[in-house]
Symmetry: C2
Subunit: 584 residues, 2 copies
């Protein structure tokens, strides 16, 4: 067909093609496509009458390979894989490396299998990285625990292309046998081990890389980036909803090392996809910051394909998959057409190529298993009147651990509403009905006086995804938590003793079955009300709450088993009567 002996499926004529191998733009090319594969990319003058069933004139617009997100947690969008794909496809994304770390913490291998099933045969090629650190600490009541044997059961799947970010770098450096076995299993199958090692440096970084970890997306500091490149790691430039590293990182990129960078979003909100875009918006920003356009495109296409060893992906070249994006220009990177496996799946505002979503398995749809919540289950005794308090820092996931005097009732329990600026936080086990509730006190979440009788609850709480609820009255908190449980998971806002807003996330308590617009809207309503209720500046009500139970980010956190001092890596009591720290 390339030689014109038989008609190919499609000829794209007069395209300016981004050549990611030479990082340049080829003027006026004709691209021949058949069977979902690119056959040839030649000067249009050399192929004046292509023998093709369909001819499309690109009118000298720019043709790039489909874009790739090198690391994303689809769950963070609150969308199922199908709806996620619908959202990012018009942005020109045709491939993502998704780490289903969140659902794995809820539903283990079944959750990963659901993500595989739900992402099969979509116009966005969703490849999975096998979560490596489930649960994230040994002190967790997660829904599942995946050891090396468990991950080996699925690691050979053709759409599992990597071991997911090995966050437990202290464990790896300590020689954790199970974690090493996971890395070795991945390597034995020819799959890459992805990393996560903020601020790791020197011999420790090399020991980590030497174990087989081949990428990092947590580093933004140019010297640390160069260190990773030297150590043979790929560096992912992350521009997600929470963290944006591009501007700081770009000075570390040059034409000699540009082959070692990829782009990723990591965590991404549906609203941000709708308002800004996906990898295409990172390209636009990078080019505005001075990165040559063809280099930027290579970093979003060929580089991730090379990093993850994905054959036949990431280039407009013969033998490669016909995943193509037609851009108006290489400035704003707004796609006007997208082809996936040679089929046109985006044409202006028309999207096609989607099958019916797969049925979500019952166990995933009914993942909330909460023990009966007794009316007094949230009582928090502070007999000494002196408490350890989680102090939230604006615009940060790092909390402070402070000790302060608190007002208690006659029984010695925290009298939440009498304590200016404080609210109570509860983490309620929800995977196995264990009736395990950890309690703590938050400062800096809501302003004083507001949120009367109110509470916020979420079944998204990293990484174990138990129910986290914060509020100023036990009744409000109970109502919010029960509502989340009854919805099969989700988000809930209570005010004046009533549910004022909620978003159900019945897929493992993490994802909606609605589309991106609906989810973004629901979330916006919740956030707006929370803001009206006096949520502190620098706090995003639900996201902040979702990280209060993550016992690997300093300093003081709380999970189902109680208050956890991350720096000391142990549980500590709320009552601080024996603590000699000065009161704040």
């Amino acid at each position: 067909m390339a030689l014109g002996r038989e008609a190919c499926d499609l000829a794209l004529i007069h395209a300016n093609v981004v050549d990611v191998f030479g990082r340049t733009v080829l003027q006026d090319r004709t691209v021949l496509v058949a069977g979902g594969q690119i056959l040839a990319v030649v000067p249009s003058a050399q192929c004046p009458k292509p023998n093709a069933k369909e001819i499309f004139d690109c009118q000298h617009r720019y043709l790039t390979p489909g874009l790739t997100d090198a690391h994303v947690h689809i769950e963070s969008t609150l969308l199922t894989p199908e709806n996620f794909a619908r959202a990012v496809l018009p942005c020109g994304t045709t491939c993502v490396i998704a780490d289903p770390h969140e659902i794995a913490n809820v539903a283990g291998i079944s959750g990963i299998q659901y993500m595989l099933d739900a992402s099969e045969n979509l116009p966005v090629h969703i490849l999975l990285a096998m979560p490596s650190c489930v649960p994230c600490t040994p002190f967790e009541d997660a829904g599942a625990s995946l050891d090396a044997d468990a991950i080996a059961s699925l690691m050979g799947h053709e759409r599992i292309c990597a071991l997911g970010e090995v966050m437990n770098y202290p464990g790896l450096l300590a020689g954790d046998d199970d974690l090493l076995a996971k890395v070795e299993k991945a390597e034995a199958l020819g799959k890459v081990a992805d990393g996560h090692c903020p601020s790791l440096s020197g011999l420790e970084l090399h020991a980590y890389a030497g174990c087989g970890i081949r990428a990092d997306h947590e580093t933004t500091e140019p010297d640390l980036i160069r260190e990773r490149i030297e150590a043979g790691m790929y560096v992912f430039i992350r521009e997600g909803s929470a963290a944006q590293g591009l501007e700081q990182m770009l000075p570390a990129v040059n034409s000699n090392n540009a082959g070692r960078f990829c782009f990723c979003t990591d965590d991404l909100h549906a609203e941000d996809i709708l308002s800004s875009g996906h990898i295409n918006s990172i390209l636009a920003k990078a080019v505005k910051l001075g990165l040559p356009a063809a280099t930027a495109v290579a970093m979003a296409t060929l580089n991730p394909a090379q990093c993850f060893g994905l054959a036949h992906r990431g280039a407009v070249a013969p033998g490669y998959k016909a995943d193509l994006v037609l851009m108006e220009d290489l400035v704003d990177f707004k796609p006007c057409m997208v082809w996936s496996d040679g089929a046109c799946v985006v044409n202006g505002s028309t999207i096609s190529g989607f099958r019916k979503p797969v049925a979500v398995p019952e166990e995933i749809l009914h993942s909330m298993h909460v023990a009966e919540l007794a009316p007094d289950c949230l009582k928090l005794p502070v007999p000494s009147g002196r408490a350890r308090v989680i102090k939230i820092n604006p615009f940060s996931l790092v909390t402070d651990s402070i000790v302060m005097d608190v007002i208690t009732d006659e029984e010695g329990n925290l009298a939440t509403r009498k304590n200016k600026d404080l609210c109570k936080i509860a983490v309620i086990e929800r995977h196995k009905g264990l009736n395990r509730i950890g309690l703590g006190i938050l400062k800096g979440y809501f302003y004083s006086g507001l949120l009367l009788g109110g509470a916020v609850a979420t079944s998204i709480s990293h990484d174990s995804h138990n129910i986290v609820v914060a509020g100023r009255t036990d009744e409000g908190m109970l109502l919010a938590a029960r509502t989340v449980a009854e919805m099969g998971g989700g988000l809930c806002m209570v005010r004046d003793g009533k549910v004022v807003s909620s978003l159900s996330l019945p897929v493992a308590g993490l994802m909606s079955q609605e589309g991106a617009e609906s989810v973004a809207k629901g979330l916006k309503v919740l956030e707006t009300i929370a803001r009206q209720c006096g949520c502190c500046e620098g706090v995003t009500p639900l996201t902040t709450l979702a990280f209060m139970a993550l016992c690997v980010i300093p300093s003081l956190k709380v999970n189902t088993r109680g208050l956890f001092d991350v720096n000391a890596f142990k549980f500590v009591p709320v009552d601080a009567g024996d603590d000699n720290t000065d009161c704040i």
Copy 2:
């Protein structure tokens, strides 16, 4: 060990390390090595007291990864794999991709198996590319024929990393099923298909690349190089004994596409290794021509590893094989030390790490099967007195086909000695004792009058490696051919009716069991005598002869079945009585 908890095997301190990922030089590094693997590469100041069994001070000399030859036919050195490795190791070569195309034409799978056995556990990691085109045309009396099923039997071997150069590009473009099956088999096993496509361009090039061919080493013209890069192919810059492309090709290399180039030698004479070096001398030449040193090193290390998908090779980085070269500088690239798998194998002029050579199998050692040569077997009738003659062009493998009047004896046979400037050429089948002899007439091989009673014979003759003998008397030719057969293969020079020099090549009739010095010396004697006997300028007596039977290079060639018109792709008679071409 990277963290110093246990002693590693070796610490190289104060090394200036070439970082092939960032294509830069890292000053004053300490490299920790254990178990044949690099553990860490950190600033020496960060590791002031390495915990190592051995510490070696590099004194700020330059440490590079071991060098790789991306495409070489070891047989062309006339050395066995062991002796080849001994010759190139001091040049800093620790890896070659060797295509045993020559021995495969003699001994088929057994020959390839011998090359695998002979190259096992050497300090130079010899990986093989499976010969794809044996025999090179359907008109050959080769020693073997390898179809897709035959190559599949060995393709999965861990040291077979590629399908060898797919030279039969017309066959591939014509849709040759067996050839396509070979490429598909390689791809199914995750192995690369190497190419060979001089001057192929446009849609044909893309059709070729689209079949899965991922490299070419035959192209030197910058526009054709760029075309190959665009088509997703790697381009190998060849600097061998016969062909040197570097100077012409280098202008096509820039910092954006430098990741797509490798270096290779293809055909290399032992003498050239001894006098000039191997890949290291190409680096020196490239740097003198203006290529940045670290880029040159990357093209000889990381790039071939990426091209052939060789994990853990080609970089000085944690997790990579400890194949290392210490160079005095990055100008002359003279190695002072070489480590292979972490062991020092070259220290100044001391070479170590070699085991006893494997025994050559009997069938490979006795591969010459020549039928009894009757005294009149070389008689060449030219009844019309007008003959098609192979005209050798100086400095070229391309011959011309000319028609000229020749002097015959009373029986109408060519009277060789009476024809000024002509000699007779015979190609004698030697694989199966078929008693098949093809005859032709050469012009431009020897000057008139010289080589009285003389002849030159060789069992190296591409690609089928039958005996080729050229001479001015039938008796001399027969003596030379018989001598080659009796030696079990080799090269022979006859003068005045006597053997004056010979070099036996008993390994498949292609390789000596002697070392590089001995082979280079023997060859030099032969060539010197041939030159004294009047070998024409621009002709290398044995090499030129070795290509006279290669029926894929234009225009007129001769094999065991007779004279072959390459352009018409058919046999033609020597007698040109019916040819209307003007006499020359």
